[in-house]
């Protein structure tokens, strides 16, 4: 299963994603990995990371740091993976010295696909940075474009897409339910 979770800043998307991943790992007795993508820039950055570490504490996550080149990441075993978050990964690929630069979207997508193949269930957190109506400089617009494209492509790949608003999950896509329904319908038809 691959679920993409989107929300704005402070929407509660991380907490929702962590609980989802944790429950999946518990249900299937599988290892739980957290792929951390945020580079600790400055005091505020460190505080943000500490806040997230506290949120995750005691939930059983094994943290793996990966700032660029996700496709090269080797997971210790096949388990449940939470990747957080796509907006950092995209910014790193775009701006870091060893990032993919113009190939950012491709690097992000191939990285997520690789992780998807290597995991039982994958949960990816991404950010809604598209609705403030402000006209930014060329570089920032390019960043929005890369992330927007990645979000669209991943949403197309995902089995489930969820938007989180004030900590409340809103389902945008759920192919699993459709598959379940179809299976049920088919079995009923067979019985007839």
């Amino acid at each position: 299963m691959f679920e993409l979770i989107i929300g704005g800043s402070g929407s509660g998307k991380s907490e929702y994603a962590e609980n989802l991943a944790m429950n999946l790992a518990r249900e299937e007795y599988l290892p739980l990995y957290y792929i951390a993508t945020m580079l600790p820039y400055g005091e505020e950055g460190k505080k943000r990371i500490e806040r997230h570490q506290k949120l995750r504490a005691g939930k059983g996550f094994y943290t793996i740091e990966c700032y660029v080149n996700l496709r090269r990441l080797v997971l210790p075993a096949r388990g449940i993976v939470l990747l957080e978050c796509l907006s950092n990964l995209t910014a790193n690929e775009m701006f870091e010295d060893d990032g993919a630069k113009e190939q950012t979207t491709e690097a992000v997508l191939s990285g997520v696909s690789k992780v998807r193949e290597g995991s039982r269930h994958l949960v990816v957190v991404t950010n809604d940075i598209f609705s403030d109506g402000i006209t930014y400089d060329e570089t920032t617009v390019r960043y929005q474009k890369y992330l927007g494209e990645a979000n669209q492509r991943l949403a197309a790949m995902a089995d489930q897409v969820t938007e989180v608003v004030c900590g409340i999950p809103l389902q945008l896509k759920n192919t699993l339910q459709k598959t379940e329904m179809r299976d049920k319908c088919e079995s009923v038809v067979e019985q007839l």
Binding site: G8, G10, S11, D128, I129, S131, Y136, Q144
Partner: protein
């Protein structure tokens, strides 16, 4: 408690008035009111503006959801969703939008109902 959220200029207040039969005078403006007025208000609009003023004055707002739950559990709160943009360059703006977001998460937990308004159309995203 009832929480109504949505982007700017989505018709949240008109939706609140219609849905909960409110008069304009039932609605206290978070852009200018005092803390005590919030505890008396039937409905409070511009909740995010109230938070902005608190942060500007360096007042702690972390206990507000709990206090509201105790002192005015029937209140209808109207707040903007602010988090769906590029990370602001100013530290204060970052703190502001994050604080409003976290408070809305906490208030949504307290609330019996959460409504989200887009283009004037409300959707109940939490009930009971």
């Amino acid at each position: 408690m009832i929480l109504i959220v949505g982007g700017a200029f989505q018709g949240k207040k008109a939706y609140a008035r219609q849905t909960f039969s409110l008069e304009e005078t039932d609605i206290t403006d978070g852009g200018s009111c005092e803390l005590e007025e919030i505890f008396q208000a039937r409905a409070l609009s511009h909740f995010h503006e109230y938070i902005r003023r608190c942060l500007e004055a360096d007042r702690d707002v972390s206990t507000l959801p709990e206090m509201l739950g105790k002192k005015n559990p029937q209140v209808i709160l109207i707040a903007n969703e602010l988090g769906s943009g590029v990370v602001p360059t100013e530290a204060f703006d970052r703190e502001y939008r994050e604080t409003v977001g976290r408070l809305c998460c906490a208030l949504a937990k307290e609330a019996e109902e959460v409504h989200r308004v887009v283009c004037g159309i409300g959707r109940v995203i939490k009930y009971g």
